[in-house]
Each structure stands twice: as C-alpha cells, then as structure tokens.
C-alpha cells in the first residue's frame, strides 16, 4: 500500500502541485472557472423563469440548468486539460531538466504518472470548486445525487483520458508549442466534431432500418455521449441518436460505463506508450 502511495505521490507530482499553487495565477483561474459556470447558471435560470414563471419547486428548471452546466463544464474541461498537460514533458525537455530527472532513481513510469496526476489534479480541483454552483440547483430539484455521482465518474475518467492524450503528445514532440497544438487538435476534433460526424453517419449515409454496429464507436468513445447517458434527462435525449441499434433505454444508459471502460483502456495504452518513449533504455535514439 505504501509502495503504491509512494508511486502515486511521487516527488514530481508533489513539486508540480507546490509550484502550481504558488502565486495568484491558480486562484485566478479557479475564480474565473467558477465565475463562468455561475454566470451561465444565472443566465439559464433567468431565461427559464421568463418562460415558465414557476414559483417554488421547479424541477424542470433545475433539470435544464443542470444539463446546461454539465455540458458546459465538459467543454471547459476539454479546453483546460490539454493546456495543463501538453507541456508537461516537452516543457521539461525545453527547460533541459528532463535528463536530470531521468538519471534519478525515479522510473519513467513514476515521472509520467506524476505529471499526469499533477495536470489532471488541477482540472479535478476546478470541478470540485464548481460544486457550490451545482449545489444551487438543489433549490429547484429535478435531478438526483445518483445522477450527479455518475456524471462525476464520467468527468474524472474524461479528465484522465484527456490528460493521457496530452501527455502522450508532450512526450512525442520536443517542443511544447507543437505538443499543445497537436493535443488540442486531436481532442477538440474528436470531442466536438465526432458527435456531429456520428449523427451524419447515421442519418445520411446508413440505412436506418439496418445500421452497422461499428457506428457505435462514436457513442462509446465520446465524453459528450458518456456524460449524456450518465446525467439522465434531459441530456440523455442525445443518446436517442442511436435508437436504431440501442433499442432500449437500458442499452442507451449503458453507454456511460462502456465509455468509461474504453476510455480507461485507451488511457492505459497511451500511458504505456508514453513511458516507453520516455524510458532512456527503450526510447528511440536521439542526440
């Protein structure tokens, strides 16, 4: 147990956390993040009250605010994580501190895990800081703690996957700028454009009565569908896109855990490749 603790809470992680929390920049980012979510919640609340004019218990308003906040938070995390993680290893290379790390007793795996946890830990801190905004929705009702818990699982898995993708590019490219561009390119294309592509694939190119099962790749690998299935109504309406194959409600809801499993598998594969690239004994020859 202490070996695992030492592996996870390794010096790289602790140093990154200490340095990141120093100064006002981190506090500023947290305030900005929570402020943006709060502003969105207030705008949606104002808009809903204008149309519904409900007094007291208003579950439909709560559900709408929750759906909007949940998806907006996902978009913010998609935008934040590559920025936090893609410079992790390329930055060490540019600063010429990577060799100093690799000649210590730390393994390449410890360096990679330390970097991943430091970057994703901050994204998770942002999520944690946003809890009071989500707490406001309890005033209206309309969603359950169970759904909030499932959504949190999808968020955590998504942040880890996005972190692993970013760190992989960070190890692949020597320059931080290139790594950041590559990570943003791949992540935003996949998460933001693949739902659109999935919808087009189904509704334009395939016979709706007999669609191919491989089309589900868009559902099972996209965090937006994972979150939609986990968050319940009204977000889960998104998963109806796949009704030709996932004919029952239970099958559509299962998207969230299937997404999580695939994401964790993908994350493990990417981390393994990153460690192989970083390990001086196995890395491709570089001057």
């Amino acid at each position: 147990m202490s070996a695992l603790r030492g592996f996870v809470l390794n010096p790289v992680f602790l140093r990154e956390v200490r340095v990141r929390m120093r100064g006002w920049r981190t506090a500023g980012i947290i305030v900005l993040y929570v402020g943006l979510l709060g502003l969105l919640a207030m705008l949606i609340f104002a808009a809903s009250m204008r149309t519904n004019r409900t007094v007291g218990f208003a579950p439909e308003v709560g559900a709408i605010i929750y759906a909007a906040l949940a998806m907006f938070q996902l978009v913010l995390l998609v935008l934040a994580v590559p920025g936090l993680a893609a410079g992790a290893i390329a930055g060490e290379r540019e600063r010429q501190t990577l060799d100093l790390l690799l000649v210590t007793r730390l393994t390449a795996a410890q360096v990679v895990v330390g970097k991943l946890l430091a970057a994703t830990g901050f994204a998770l801190l942002l999520m944690f800081a946003s809890l009071p905004v989500f707490g406001l929705i309890f005033l209206f009702g309309g969603f359950s703690l169970y759904r909030l818990g499932l959504s949190a699982v999808v968020y955590v898995v998504t942040v880890l996957l996005l972190g692993a993708v970013s760190i992989y590019f960070s190890a692949l490219y020597r320059r931080t700028q290139t790594a950041v561009v590559a990570a943003y390119g791949v992540i935003t294309t996949w998460t933001l454009l693949s739902p659109l592509f999935g919808a087009l694939t189904y509704h334009v190119f395939f016979d709706r009565a007999n669609p191919p099962v491989w089309g589900l790749v868009f559902a099972y690998t996209n965090p937006a569908f994972g979150l939609a299935a986990a968050a319940g109504l009204p977000l889960s309406e998104m998963t109806r896109l796949y009704t030709p194959i996932l004919t029952t409600e239970a099958l559509r809801e299962a998207i969230w855990w299937k997404y999580c499993l695939i994401a964790l598998g993908l994350m493990a594969l990417l981390l393994w490749r990153t460690v192989r690239r970083l390990d001086p004994v196995r890395a491709p020859a570089r001057r």
């Binding site: 390794n10 140093r15 210590t104 001086p280």
Partner: protein, 323 residues
C-alpha cells in the same frame, strides 16, 4: 571504479562512438578530451544510462549499468553540459526535490543539504529562487544536486563551460575537494589547460574513437611528440614592419604553413606569439626542421625544445583536426 568496454553508438548513418573503452581508477579525476563532435557527450550519456549503445558494456564498480540502470543511477552523479532549473523553486526546495527523487532518507537531510550548499559556497542562498541565481551559482548548485545521494562516481560534462575565470577557479577547488573526499570524477572539457592542472588521468577521443587513455604523464610520454617552440623576430623591411597585431598573426600563420611542410611535423599551433611545433622523431628531425625554416627565410630569434603541455599532446594525437 568505472569501466567502459567497446561502446558503439549510431544515430542513423552516423557512427558517433566507435569501440570506445577506458577505465577510471577509484579516486581518480579522469579528463575526457576531444574536439567538438568527437563523441564525448554521447559516451557520457551512455555511462549515465540516458542512452543505450548498440554494443559495449559499462560497469560502475561491479554494477553493469546497462543491465541494472536503476542501481547504476544510485551510484552516479551526472551533470550535463546544458541544463535548466525550475521556475518558482527555492534552492532548498530544489535540493529537497532531488533528494526525494533519489530516495534520500528525510532524517538528517537538512544537515546534508546544508553541508552540500556550504561545499559549493551557496549556503547563504538557501532561500533564494534558483532561476534568479547567476550562471556560476547554477553550475555549483547542479554540482551539489549531483552529490545529494552521495554517489561514488561523478560524471561532469563540460562543467566549466560558460563560466568566468573566478568561477572556474572555484569549481576546480571544489572538484579537488571532492577528490580528497574519495569521489571518482569523470570530467569532459575542451579547456585543456584546466584539465592538465586538475586531472590525474586523461582520455582522448577523436572522431568517435578513443585514441589515448591513461595517467597524464604516461599520455604525454606515449604521445612521443617533442615540442619545439619557435619565435620570429620583426620583419626588417616591407610595409608591415612595425607589426600591427593582425599583420603579426598573418606572419605567424604563414610561418606555421611553412613548418607544417617540414618532415616529421605532426601539428603546429600558434600560441602567445610563438609557434609550438609537435615533432615526431629525434635530433636529426629537429635539425631538419630548423634548416627547413631557415631555408624558407623566416626571421627566427628562438628555436628550443619545451616541455609538452596537454594541448600539445592533444594536437599531436589528433593531428590538430576539428571534426
């Protein structure tokens, strides 16, 4: 203490290191000398377990560094030729961080860091941010970092490069102190004069091959080059008589060209307004050189054998070529 056997390293089509072998005795300061691109840094990186060679073996004591890199790293302190420091980290935190990375026990660690910072003359900078230190201070801090896990062997790649004379002297004193404390030191440098004063042994690498290795005196002897110092008088007539520095240099270069054509001459260097001619052979060859220079009409005022310096040995062995 350190043994390197038959190292070969290729980068694509380029063979950077070819069958390099040498050994460093415990407590020795081994100077690793070679022109730029000769393969010094590549060899040091292989020893530091940062590169894997195509062939060859490296032993730190009895530890096979290529088979047990983790164990070797615990016995090695490595200082690269170029390195950076972290922003927003104080000197004490920097040392604590690397002590954590080397799994140095926390008990007594503060005292250890204090003593290392005192050794490298940075004790008063413990609370300063590392990115605000001068280059010389960063270099000394990096040396302290190398020592935090008390390694047997130090591998220092051009530690004096970019330092001003005062910092170089301080670094040399620190290295001598480390030798007194029993550390085995492998140091690469192109500042040969400094290595001559510091090292007990030298190894010369040229075009990826080890061309000489052993105690400094032995290498000087084995290089077999007699060094003749030649000084020229002023030119008695002509537009340059008066001797502007550029014109003096031009005359010396011309004279060096003439000397290179003489039989038995390995290399010629221009230094302190004189020619230093590395000559292979005995008195007849020296006489032939003298007569060659006189025939060429050079106004010699001094022709004498001098004690060879490490630069002369290096020039003699490598033929004065740069890669």
């Amino acid at each position: 203490m350190l043994r390197v056997e038959g190292l070969v390293k290729r980068f694509g089509d380029v063979e950077a290191v070819r069958d390099v072998s040498f050994a460093v005795e415990p407590g020795a300061i081994y100077g690793f000398v070679g022109p730029n691109g000769a393969g010094k840094t590549t060899t040091l990186k292989i020893i530091a377990t940062l590169l894997t060679p195509e062939a060859g073996r490296v032993f730190i004591g009895s530890t096979d560094a290529l088979k047990n890199p983790g164990e070797a790293r615990a016995r090695l302190g490595y200082m690269p030729d170029f390195f950076g420091v972290y922003d927003n980290l104080k000197v004490d935190e920097y040392m604590q961080f690397y002590a954590d990375c080397y799994a140095v026990p926390t008990a007594g660690r503060d005292r250890l860091i204090e003593s290392l910072l005192t050794l490298v003359r940075l004790a008063d900078k413990r609370g300063a941010y590392v990115d605000e230190l001068s280059r010389g201070m960063k270099q000394r801090l990096c040396l302290a970092r190398c020592l935090v896990h008390d390694p047997d062997v130090l591998i220092l790649d051009e530690p004096a490069s970019g330092l001003d004379p005062r910092n170089r002297v301080e670094l040399r004193e620190i290295l001598q102190e480390l030798r007194r404390r029993g550390k085995t030191i492998l140091i690469s440098s192109h500042i040969l004069a400094e290595l001559a004063e510091l090292c007990t042994h030298i190894g010369i690498i040229h075009a990826g091959r080890m061309v000489a290795s052993g105690p400094v005196e032995q290498i000087q002897r084995e290089a077999g080059a007699r060094v003749i110092e030649v000084r020229l008088g002023g030119v008695p007539s002509g537009p340059d008589a008066g001797g502007a520095p550029a014109a003096q240099d031009g005359r010396l270069e011309d004279a060096a060209q003439v000397a290179r054509a003489a039989p038995g001459v390995r290399s010629v260097a221009v230094e302190d307004g004189a020619l230093r001619v590395a000559l292979e052979g005995d008195d007849p060859e020296a006489a032939a050189l003298l007569s060659h220079l006189v025939r060429a009409g050079l106004p010699m005022i001094h022709f004498a054998e001098v004690k060879s310096k490490l630069e002369d040995v290096f020039m003699a062995i490598t033929g004065g070529e740069e890669e």
